[in-house]
């Protein structure tokens, strides 16, 4: 992960903390709501109480004010004043006559300040005067600083005329009511409010403390409740780090137990899949043997062991002789079957502790542990003997298959796995050079023929590529239908001091082994483009063989585009040949590449068409332009009716699909005539002309 990205990713919050945060948030909301409700309700209660209390005081003042109204003597106010003086909440009190005028000087508490209460309006007085109501109209007016003004009428009542005749307490509603004046008082309940607010503050603090305590207890409880969940963290972290030897507890709470069971099931599945992947990564899919990568790892481990413990082991390098021939002749499936049988042979004839690997296409390796020099030779001899006894049966033919074996003794801890493999490779080449079906033990300190050893080939081929020394040889194809196109197949050669040039058979295995074939193909394509650029012949066409390593190149399309752009040549001058076995192994990639390049006007040919039974299936999947018929069908076309019929069938299919056919390895004129009759478009072979460095123009 990029370091700058790690800064952007927020650390996940713990579930317990999240629950606690929610709990606290909820508690805070409840607390605030509760306090607000408490404050609001308390103020309502205070106000209601003040009103109620005010009404009582008004009633008392109503009673005490009677002498004032009876005598119109302000001096009679003494009782009322002494009454209100004892009530600290009453700031002022005054009696008004029926017109709202003061009957006496108003009482006002000393050192008090009254709010701005306006005199009673006529409308207010009118409302207060109403006697057609069950209860006196009392008017409350809230002022600033917790002051409230209460105004109420003073009623007198009398029983109606003749009401005393036939008097009954049960009779109701026979009274006359008259308003004779008003009482107007101003109350100050700030002291009550302050007291209540102070108490409310204390209550709030106590509640807050209780809530904090509850939150602390809640935190402990949540943590306690989440312990089973927290216990999952450690195994899950280990699992996330790639460990699969993890077991999650399945005891405890039901929900957690279920999660545990589910996780254990998942871990088991992961473990199984991991093992499968590891096995796939370390084994060859065809033979079931370990692959090159795994083998090299084990080799390095063994080298390390020998470096520390001494002793010796042996590295065997097996190279199947004639495998390419079998593959080309009998097809890919046969080649595969042969490889499986060889793998079986090797596995059966080695000790259980030894390690057999499929190292490359037809190359096998064996790491024989704790083997001395003598023992290694005995093992090699036994394998040579095994192969002598081995017969491979295919299509009614009995084929003899042989090994070339190279042996390197692992007894020097200073050498690397690469060194040992190179030694074994050199030894196997020596064995091949000296007649195959033989073995060679690499002897350190002995001068090896560099050119024949793997080490030499690598350097030599690298030099050829670096010095742009690949040599194209051209073999002309003869058109049997008077076609204007002049097709030449291009063969790769490399310079050789003794022989002038070397054929691919001598260096191609090494080039493939060292991953250099793709580069050789590129060099050849460039050289052909240079020829085309010089020749400027619109009918000149070159057919080139493409290696698997070139096909594997992701930049194949852009490379070819750059070549034709650089040399200003048309893609139609290129035909790329793909042998069936390459197609089989790379079908998915070719399904993308061939259409893309065909669109640019490059053309494709299936080489050795008809060698296998699945040939026809490929032409359905790949839009190729030429079918180059396998030499085994052309060789005996004169004599073998089946081959003839096969070739005819191929030609008919090609015609139907608008493809052209090429017959290679033609050996005589009779064959050419027959092929022409069948409808073959082009023929090719040494009979017509050997490949040459010069283009036959």
């Amino acid at each position: 992960m990029r370091p700058d990205l790690t800064l952007l990713i927020k650390t996940p919050v713990s579930l317990a903390n999240r629950i606690l945060a929610l709990q606290l948030l909820w508690a805070l909301i409840v607390y605030l709501l509760f306090i607000a409700a408490l404050w609001f309700t308390t103020n309502l209660v205070i106000e209601s109480n003040v009103r109620h209390q005010g009404e009582n005081w008004i009633a008392k003042l109503d009673e005490l004010g009677i002498p004032v109204y009876a005598s119109n003597d302000p001096g009679q106010l003494a009782d009322a004043i002494s009454y209100v003086r004892n009530i600290p909440e009453i700031l002022s009190a005054q009696y008004l006559d029926i017109d709202g005028k003061k009957l006496s000087s108003a009482y006002q508490r000393k050192n008090s300040s009254l709010g701005d209460f306006a005199p009673l309006t006529e409308e207010t007085l009118k409302n207060l005067k109403r006697t057609d109501v069950e209860k006196k109209a009392i008017i409350y007016e809230k002022g600033k600083n917790s002051q409230m003004r209460i105004s109420a009428p003073i009623w007198i009542k009398s029983i109606e005329n003749d009401g005393m005749i036939d008097f009954s307490l049960k009779k109701k509603g026979s009274e006359k009511i008259e308003t004779i004046g008003f009482i107007d008082i101003v109350l100050d309940y700030s002291a009550i409010t302050s007291e209540i607010n102070r108490n409310l503050t204390y209550a709030s603090l106590i509640i807050a403390l209780m809530m904090i305590l509850a939150a602390y207890i809640g935190r402990r409880m949540v943590r306690w409740a989440l312990i089973p969940l927290s216990d999952l963290e450690e195994p899950l972290t280990r699992l996330a780090n790639g460990e699969t030897d993890v077991t999650v507890k399945t005891s405890g709470d039901r929900e957690i137990a279920r999660i545990g069971i589910a996780l254990n099931t998942t871990i088991s599945a992961l473990k199984q899949r991991d093992e499968e992947l590891r096995s796939m990564a370390n084994h060859d899919g065809l033979t079931g043997l370990v692959n090159r990568k795994y083998f090299v790892e084990q080799l390095e481990i063994e080298i390390g062991r020998i470096a520390s413990n001494n002793g010796s082991s042996a590295l065997f390098f097996f190279d199947l002789d004639r495998f390419k021939y079998i593959n080309d002749t009998y097809g890919h499936a046969t080649g595969d079957r042969l490889l499986v049988q060889i793998a079986k042979l090797l596995t059966q004839r080695t000790r259980g502790k030894d390690l057999v690997a499929r190292f490359g296409g037809d190359e096998f390796t064996l790491l024989a542990y704790n083997v001395e020099h003598k023992g290694a030779i005995e093992i090699a001899e036994s394998f040579i003997q095994i192969m002598r006894d081995f017969n491979f049966y295919e299509a009614g033919d009995m084929l003899k298959i042989y090994f070339s074996i190279g042996i390197s003794m692992i007894d020097d801890g200073t050498l690397s796995s690469h060194d040992y493999l190179k030694e074994a490779d050199t030894a196997v080449h020596e064995a091949k050079t000296h007649g195959r079906n033989d073995f060679r033990l690499f002897k350190r300190g002995t001068l090896h023929n560099a050119q024949e050893s793997g080490t030499g080939w690598h350097e030599r081929l690298q030099n050829v590529l670096l010095n742009y020394q690949a040599v194209p040889y051209f073999q002309e194809l003869i058109g049997l239908k008077n076609q204007p196109e002049k097709i030449n197949e291009v063969f790769l050669r490399i310079p050789d001091i003794e022989q002038g040039v070397l054929r691919p058979g001598a260096f191609m295995p090494a080039a493939e082994r060292f991953g250099l074939m793709g580069e050789f193909d590129k060099q050849m394509i460039k050289k052909v483009a240079e020829v085309l650029a010089v020749q400027k012949d619109s009918n000149l066409v070159f057919s080139l063989n493409l290696s698997e390593q070139f096909i594997d190149d992701k930049n194949i399309v852009s490379f070819l585009k750059s070549v034709i752009d650089e040399h200003h040549v048309s893609p139609k001058h290129f035909i790329f040949e793909l042998p069936e076995q390459h197609i089989v192994r790379n079908i998915e990639r070719l399904q993308h590449i061939i259409p893309a390049l065909s669109e640019l006007d490059f053309r494709f040919a299936i080489d050795d068409f008809g060698a296998g039974f699945t040939s026809f299936s490929y032409i359905k999947q790949l839009p190729v332009h030429f079918l180059k018929i396998n030499s085994s069908l052309i060789d005996r076309i004169k004599d073998d009716n089946i081959d003839r019929i096969s070739v005819r069938a191929i030609v008919e299919v090609a015609l139907d699909l608008n493809m052209q056919t090429i017959a290679k390895f033609v050996t005589d004129d009779e064959s050419i005539a027959m092929l022409k009759k069948i409808g073959i478009d082009f023929v090719q072979g040494n009979f017509i002309g050997y490949p040459a460095a010069q283009l036959n123009s």
Partner: protein, 348 residues
Amino acid sequence: MNDLTHMKKTPQEIWVNILTFTLLILRMRWYWIFLLVVFFVQGCARPPSTAPYTAPAPVTERTTVSGKKTHAIQVEILVSEDIPAYTEVANELVKLLGTRGTLRLLTANKLNNYKIISKINTSEPSQIVSIGLNAAIASKPLKNRQLVFCQVYNYQNYALITARHKGVSMLPSLPLTFSTWRGLSPGTTDIGVISGPGMDDVIASAKASAKHYGLTLHYESVKSDKEFQYAFKKISTKVQGYWLLPDNRVLSENTLRNIMNFSVRNSKQVAVFSEELLKLGGLLSMSSAHHDIAQQVYERLEQAQAKDAIPGPDIVYPEKMDLHINSVMAGNLSLEIPARYRKFAHAP
């Protein structure tokens, strides 16, 4: 049921009922028919009385007897309202006057009342009896007729007294009142009395009578029910009891309850004007008897017959009264009810 509201069925109505029953019988089962026959025999066996109803009915105009005229002057009896306190007095008067009396019930319809008064004013000379304040006020324009009113308390307020217009008090005889109280509670010396304005002559008479029986009357004149309460409490230290006058102007139900509560709490004797108030803690209730009022009215009418004005005082007091003593309060006040009053004592 009082006589004024008595209802009678006519023979026509009886026969309609019989016909209805017959029709019902035709639709009923035999046992129902049997029951109905029984009811019929019980109901119809007694034919409706055909005797004349002597009691005066509350009609606007009705003569008691449609017979020959007597030489005595006719009496128009105007009743303020159809309540027992008035109708009982009226009925008693009719009994006393015989064929001379004519009952007229006034209503809330002032125009109608005015018509009645106008008709009386234009008819043959007659004496007038006004029972209740409304009737007394309505008959004030009959200045040339001899008029005796009764069952009116605040007659001063309405200037009802003239030479030809005089009354019979709704209060019982003042000497009787105070002698009774003194007899019941010999230790009582000071009595408070509170009323609205304009009661000076009554109070003066009362003070004199009270003094005669060794009682001092403390009087307060007030203008409202609130003042009443205030005065009631103010004089409480001076008095052992209160004489509660039925002055509707300064009494309210609330005031009545408050002062009665106050009296009970402060162990004050209260003489009330209605038996109802004994329930609130009154010691004794003294009210004039209806037949006595009627008798007093009758006597005043008789005394005035040959004269222009009505002789005697402006107001005469009935000599009899209805007395009720609250035995519970008497016990609470530690009063020993004398033997002669025990028959009037009861728990309210």
